[in-house]
Subunit: 150 residues, 2 copies
């Protein structure tokens, strides 16, 4: 797979979010990248799996870890929404190198909001964080989903 | 299954922690209880599954949610160690009613330490928390495990 620019990986994550919406899931998508190649891509599957932990980030971490035999040093995450505290802490445990996220999530986010999981001495690996990438597209997807549901 | 007192559920969690140690895992065990009956029991399986998210709490939440078809309202957790931020946030997402934990974890805990995940407006369900249950036994298990490894 050719090396793609950052915005293309976020486009792939957005496509995963759109696919999640079509499955009736809150539209969040995530992609893991190592050395310029996608190693996992998935969306939210909370409803499908009846698993409140099946956020997009958890899905890709678990898939890629199983494949890699453990932690994901040197791996970058692209996700359409600011990770919640569960996913933020999981990204730290997995030793993810960089986190690029789309929309900010003041209501439930755990990176820039609320518990700010990476900002404590109890966080033993802090990924580099880049927020607001393709923010408008990621936020519009979520808005459209919740508008259609009401 | 007969209704058991609280300390018996923690003994079951401790047995899961001991089993985890025998598998070479950091010895943490967890039990979920609904209406006085155990609905899930497991230990840490991070090494076995090559999954950094496979903490004891995540294992029992995922097993019980799949069984129950979703969230775990009215369900109580017994776990031998203070949950980390990932597990604390997952317990909130799963709508767990009460969290009883054994040893406090100043280094990596996320309930009474560090990000204190339940203590923010972004936490939309806060379980009742009871820490230090069978604390001595839970802490000794962890100490013995790390002593043997060094």
């Amino acid at each position: 797979m050719p090396i793609l620019p950052t915005s293309d990986f976020m486009s792939l994550a957005l496509r995963q979010a759109e696919a999640a919406a079509r499955r009736g899931e809150v539209p969040v998508g995530a992609v893991l990248v190592r050395d310029g190649a996608v190693i996992a891509a998935d969306g939210n599957r909370v409803e499908e799996l009846a698993d409140p932990t099946a956020h997009a980030e958890m899905q890709v971490i678990r898939a890629a870890s199983a494949q890699a035999g453990g932690r994901l040093a040197g791996v970058d995450l692209y996700v359409t929404l600011e990770p919640c505290p569960m996913c933020a802490a999981a990204l730290s445990l997995a030793r993810i190198r960089r986190v690029y996220f789309g929309a900010y999530d003041p209501k439930s986010g755990g990176v820039e909001h609320g518990p700010k999981v990476f900002d404590h001495a109890t966080c033993h690996h802090r990924p580099e964080v880049y927020g607001g990438l393709e923010e408008r597209r990621a936020a519009e997807l979520l808005r459209a989903f919740f508008r259609d549901r009401r």
